[in-house]
Symmetry: D2
Subunit: 133 residues, 4 copies
């Protein structure tokens, strides 16, 4: 298992007229969490793209339990539970302090610049082998 | 069953550096589709909020099959398949011409301004009874 | 002079917790207006990029006179007042019905894929000569 | 004079298909910078709204000198140069390391929940008097 915790502070731009965070604003937070996880393992996502590997989201889901509010500090826990094959699945839990406010997951595949599926790069494979031996 | 088709044109702002539409940009399109569906049935969402009824997204999922691109015309089909009880589920299919590019769903509950669950307003109940007699 | 009018309908995602449209949400509307203007003149922006010409915003300003609200129909008038040289300036006026709600402008330059300044493409020059003879 | 420096890391969601940051994505960064400035002076913006004071943007301008890129660390310097009267003007400079990449300003007025102009709250007036004695 590989997991990582990141924090963001809710921006005004991320709220909507319901007075709380717009449900779509959580998706960039998941991105912050998974790229921080990769970076903390020595594999910044920018390096992957520079090397010709793209890792788009092919599936996303979110369940919202409590509204997030402007200026909240949100902790996002990203977890890879299973050794990725062709697909990489990442699960997320979002907390305000100790309170679970939302959960979700994303699924990714590696593709090249022309959007063709691609084997994961060696550095990524090595990283997964280290954590899922 | 209740269904409706809407169209949007992809904005530049909705793309990302992968050269295609950012996965989070689809969520406002689902919103366009479901509010157009309600409006076409004589129940504009703005009226619901003016009457004190809010219908937040408590669950969303998307699966992306083909990338959407800048300036594409995307047709979004919104469907309510089952008579809603406390929860309202809406399914979506997104097309570029005849090509299915993405699918998803949202789940909603009615709440009041203080975020407390609320029975659906009479106009909404009547509309659902008409379509799910 | 070259001018064009477009319409958008305000999306829920474009509002913020002040209950009105987030000030940053107007910028994609300006983009809708100027690309519709180019398209109406037979020069879709996508074609420009396909031919290697990019037209980024190097300057933007907005003045907000009245708040725009969810579900409002906003008319955006885009105007090129002066024949563009190296720089292209576009002015905008935003209306809700007859009511002027905001004004702004953008300035653009043509660049290539490597972000180097570029002479405008022939089709663009011809279009400007037609309107600013 | 009152000034403050904040940092953000560019999110993937903030880029567009030109491969760099979408020009509209800078506006939430200005917001991050000015709210951090207020918070560092003991006046969190959330407290202002809780007390019934809203501080919308009534004018914004940006000039973009160098593109910002995904994963860049951007320093945003916010400065109040002149003692605010009815209007509050904030100037911004954005840096990547030592490199100035963009400049801008916003203008704000205090309003109440009904969007009527309002005198600034006492805590804000006191803060300005402290810095512009």
């Amino acid at each position: 298992m590989l997991s990582h915790r990141s924090q963001i502070e809710v921006r005004y731009a991320e709220t909507d007229m319901m007075g709380v965070v717009y449900h779509g604003s959580y998706l960039p937070w998941l991105e912050v969490a998974r790229t921080a996880m990769l970076a903390s393992e020595g594999l910044p996502y920018r390096q992957l793209e520079d090397a010709g590997y793209y890792l788009p989201v092919i599936e996303v889901s979110m369940r919202y339990q409590r509204p997030a509010r402007y200026a909240d500090i949100i902790t996002i826990e990203a977890v890879i539970r299973e050794k990725p094959g062709i697909r990489l699945r990442i699960d997320y839990r979002l907390y305000r302090g100790e309170e679970l406010i939302a959960e979700g997951h994303t699924v990714h595949v590696f593709i090249d610049k022309s959007h063709r599926p691609l084997r994961p790069p060696a550095a990524f494979v090595a990283l997964m082998q280290k954590h899922f031996a």
